[in-house]
């Protein structure tokens, strides 16, 4: 168990370093000279050269890379090239907003996906199962921002049940916070809900055909108790989808946040990319990949608990 944990953590760390390093070179390669973006088109070549020197961009790329990496491993992502504020301060301010909607969407997907998945798994020929099949085909492909726009039109503008835009911090008011994240979370979660439900329904069908389910029935166990066994065996695939969805939700949150005017990492990413603010972009990349690694690690722990056989591979 300890070896399993260590191995997982190590591979997560390797992934983190590889992905962020690749992002570093990709960003510098793609952006090249960021000074026109930072200073505007009216800046003279001398002003630009001065800024390049100030930012250390005149050094060889490998030197810059080691400089960035050696600070980053200590949690120091440098300062923004635009306002010279520490990158970590800006990210700290915005991560709670993004996490609010992404975690809410993940929970929503897990709970609703579980309920619908079990209901359709127990009655695969029923009306709900047909509706789910149809919905999963379409909702899987429709982007979150498209769904967001439709939800805003229907529930914020037509029915006025929820605010169309804006964010209220949890510390300010619990109910207001909940109202402000409801629509964005639903918009993000819809696709994940149908994917998880569909995965569970399939899993139920597969597990139901396995011999041990018949043996459990033959032991006299009630349908409810047999369902618990089936659910546990069917859950690994759904949990894996949930983890993959989490990565997708982090990306999808960027556009959804902009639609709902939420001050999360989405608008920060957008503004940083428009002016080529590389330290902010890299800081954001590190944070999101850390979340992804953590979620995958959690997934492995849960999968190992659900079916101990996977731990021994």
């Amino acid at each position: 168990m300890i070896r399993f944990t260590l191995r997982r953590l190590l591979s997560g760390a390797v992934l983190l370093v590889v992905v962020t390093s690749a992002s570093f070179f990709l960003a510098h390669l793609a952006i090249g000279d960021p000074t026109p973006g930072l200073l505007g088109d009216s800046a003279t070549p001398a002003q630009r050269a001065a800024l390049r020197e100030q930012l250390g961009l005149d050094r060889p790329l490998m030197t810059q890379f080691w400089d960035w990496l050696s600070h980053a491993v200590r949690g120091d992502f440098g300062t923004s090239w635009r306002n010279f504020q520490p990158v970590s301060d800006q990210i700290e301010l915005r991560v709670p907003v993004t996490l609010s909607i992404v975690v809410a969407a993940t929970l929503l997907a897990a709970v609703v996906g579980l309920v619908v998945g079990v209901a359709t798994g127990l009655n695969p020929g029923g009306v709900l199962a047909r509706v789910l099949k149809l919905a999963s085909v379409v909702l899987f492909a429709l982007p979150g921002f498209w769904v967001s726009l439709m939800l805003v039109m229907a529930f914020a503008i037509k029915l006025q049940w929820f605010p169309a835009v804006g964010y209220v911090p949890l510390s300010h008011s619990g109910t207001q916070w909940l109202r402000s994240i409801t629509l964005p979370s639903i918009a993000l979660a819809l696709g994940a809900i149908v994917m998880i439900a569909e995965q569970l329904r399939n899993g139920f069908q597969e597990v139901n055909n396995q011999d041990f389910v018949r043996t459990l029935r033959a032991r006299g166990l009630s349908a409810r108790r047999v369902t618990v066994h089936v659910l546990r065996n069917a859950s690994p695939a759904a949990l894996t989808v949930l983890a993959v969805m989490f990565v997708g939700l982090l990306g999808g949150a960027i556009v959804v946040e902009i639609i709902f005017n939420l001050p999360g990492i989405g608008s920060l990413t957008q503004s940083a990319s428009q002016i080529g603010d590389i330290p902010v972009l890299l800081g954001l990349t590190v944070v999101t990949v850390v979340f992804v690694v953590l979620v995958n690690f959690l997934l492995d722990l849960v999968l190992g608990w659900v079916n101990p056989k996977v731990r021994e591979k």
């Binding site: 992934l15 992905v19 992002s23 990709l26 960003a27 390669l29 793609a30 952006i31 020929g125 999963s136 085909v137 379409v138 899987f140 492909a141 429709l142 982007p143 921002f145 498209w146 726009l149 439709m150 805003v152 039109m153 503008i157 994917m195 569909e198 011999d211 041990f212 018949r214 043996t215 033959a218 032991r219 006299g220 166990l221 066994h229 546990r232 065996n233 993959v244 969805m245 990565v247 982090l250 990306g251 999808g252 960027i254 556009v255 639609i259 990413t269 957008q270 940083a272 428009q274 080529g276 972009l281 990349t285 999101t288 990949v289 992804v292 690694v293 995958n296 079916n307 101990p308 056989k309």
Partner: protein, 598 residues
């Protein structure tokens, strides 16, 4: 937003047959989706001819104008004709989706085929890269790329395609892996074909259908990402595109919702069409084939084929442990009902051992599953009567019949490993029925579980109780299952091929154990087997089944001495031809010194 979870995955796709296209055209949903998609393609291709106006021409009078006869969809906030922009926007959308799909195919398919076909290091390296790409939130990388390239649209869509590559990679890898195992690939190798040639002729053919299905999905997702980027103001600002139109509409959504509605509807319908095309194709290609017709009420079913009773009832009802009178079992298939048991009669008395013998497909297992009320959902059993312990079960409710399981009836399955739930410990699986069905306390259930494990010859029950099924051997798993079957003190034990899946040496021990337990508990024992050797070892009476009928029944000695049916004689001969394994079995048995081995 980016991910490569594919609904198509997991259903092993069969190679696309020649009839795929014509079968596709027989699906109404598929035809409708294809028609809508072709409409979008035609609209995009012919936009210069179809568009009533220049998409970039600004007419201030048209600013946020409602639809009229010359501007069917009205004008946008800049005073441009929405319909014309929608038509030209379709070109951008389709071009972007095509670039993303082609990039995904170019990166994912060769890597997936190589990984699946060669395996080893190639597989590990590519799979790691694929997993890594999947764990990067693509939107951030896209924004980084957009920052540098001055938002060149083609470069952006190539990047989107790179994030779609893992989806292609996984399906290509799993198909190549499946094809690699086919014997004809080895034959091709022996015939001297090079890897390149084999990959080209055999593997690519197997991969192409799933790649097409994946492309329908990928195109839809790529369109979503593309419009998302354009919505943020990244991409082709100069050319008409749906994402920028949606942004325009979004900003005037409160006052002019129609401006948002048109491009949203265009995008939603196009993506939905692609999704339905993909799912229809996946349905057609998957080996699951046609869905079985829905369950019909029994009254609507074809009239029962008249069947004769076969077999014999030798005990009076009140003296029987199990009595089955004129049992018929049928299964629903896409081609109508298939009868697997036709009029079987048999019975067994307390303390008696009955063998049901026949080759696979003779209906012997279906007969016992019907008696236990454990047929799969698409199976249906009818009988003139089934009695358990002399009581007719036809009078009982479904719950009442279910209550007999685990209490009056014990069941020993065929394949030991697949009949234990891999997620739970042996202890949990033994104790759960004792606590839930027999209402024992936790401590009592544990004591009873230890007791039966010791009884079936497991010398260290505490260790085995804590084990998961994958940690014990097949022979031990079968002992655990026998322990589970007898733990509830049943009066009738039903064993379905209890030794078939076991090593020869273990088979004899398990049979001996069943006989001992049967005598000790005074149970009636029904053993289903294809092996007359097992019958000779343990049974008092035997019923021989063929094609869903009992063709012969009687005392074991009598049947061995004078088989009444040539088929019975053949079965007996087959098991005696097997003398080598019989001798081996007996030798092993003697060697084991008749001590029970765990």
């Amino acid at each position: 937003m980016i991910d490569a979870v594919t609904p198509a995955e997991g259903t092993a796709p069969a190679p696309a047959g020649r009839g795929l296209w014509s079968r596709y055209l027989r699906r109404p949903v598929g035809v409708a989706a294809l028609a809508v998609f072709l409409l979008v393609v035609v609209a995009g291709l012919l936009a210069p001819l179809l568009a009533p106006h220049d998409p970039n021409f600004v007419d201030f009078a048209l600013t946020q104008a409602p639809p009229d006869s010359s501007h069917w969809m009205g004008g946008d906030s800049a005073g441009r004709d929405i319909l014309s922009r929608l038509l030209f926007g379709a070109r951008t959308t389709l071009y972007g989706a095509a670039v993303a799909c082609l990039t995904g195919i170019a990166l994912g398919v060769p890597a997936g085929v190589a990984a699946g076909y060669f395996g080893g290091l190639t597989d590990r390296v590519f799979s790691w890269i694929s997993d890594a790409v999947q764990s990067v939130p693509g939107m951030i990388v896209l924004l980084i790329v957009a920052a540098g390239t001055g938002a060149d649209f083609t470069v952006l869509m190539v990047t989107v395609g790179a994030f779609m590559a893992p989806g292609y990679y996984r399906i290509s890898r799993s198909r190549a892996l499946a094809v690699r195992k086919e014997p004809y690939i080895d034959a091709a190798r022996v015939a001297g074909l090079t890897h390149v040639k084999i990959l080209h002729t055999h593997v690519l053919r197997a991969v192409h259908a799933p790649v097409i299905i994946q492309s329908a999905l990928t195109a839809g997702i790529a369109m979503g990402m593309q419009t998302g980027l354009q919505f943020l103001g990244i991409g082709t600002a100069s050319e008409a595109n749906w994402g920028q139109m949606m942004n325009d509409g979004f900003r005037t959504m409160l006052t002019h919702p129609l401006i948002l509605l048109w491009p949203s509807a265009a995008l939603g319908i196009t993506i939905a069409a692609l999704a339905f095309m993909g799912s229809t194709l996946a349905d057609l290609v998957s080996v699951r084939g046609e869905p079985a017709p829905r369950r019909r009420r029994s009254a609507e079913q074809a009239p029962e084929e008249a069947t004769d009773r076969t077999g014999a009832l030798v005990h009076p009802v009140e003296a029987s442990a199990l009595r089955i009178d004129n049992l018929r079992v049928s299964y629903r298939t896409p081609h109508g009902d298939k009868r697997v048991v036709r009029g079987v009669c048999l019975d067994v008395a307390p303390g008696e051992v009955l063998g049901i013998v026949g080759e696979s497909g003779s209906g012997k297992s279906q007969t016992v599953f019907s008696a236990l009320d454990l047929l799969p959902a698409d199976g249906r059993a009818t009988a003139d009567g089934i009695w358990i312990g002399g009581q007719p079960v036809g009078d009982l409710s479904r719950a009442g019949r279910h209550a007999l399981l685990g209490t009056r009836i014990g069941y020993v399955p065929q394949e030991p490993m697949s009949n234990l739930d891999p997620c739970y410990t042996v202890g949990h699986q033994l104790m759960e029925p004792l606590r839930a069905v027999h209402k024992l306390t936790r401590a009592q259930a544990r004591e009873r579980a230890r007791e039966v494990l010791l009884r079936v010859g497991i010398t260290d029950p505490d260790r085995v109780l804590a084990c998961h099924p994958h940690q014990i051997s097949g022979g031990m798993a079968q002992r655990v299952l026998i322990a589970g079957a007898v733990a509830g003190n049943p009066s009738l034990l039903v064993a379905d091929e209890p030794t078939t899946a076991l090593d020869v040496t273990v088979q004899a021990e398990v049979l001996e154990l069943l006989r001992e337990l049967q005598r000790e508990y005074g149970m009636a024992l029904v053993i289903v087997t294809h092996n007359f050797g097992v019958v000779a070892d343990i049974c008092d009476r035997v019923a021989v089944m063929k094609d869903g009928r009992v063709i012969e029944t009687g005392a074991v000695e009598q049947i061995f001495a004078h088989p009444g049916d040539p088929y019975t004689a053949e079965l007996i001969k087959a098991s005696q031809d097997d003398t080598e394994s019989r001798a081996e079995l007996d030798a092993a048995w003697n060697k084991a010194g008749r001590t029970v081995r765990a």
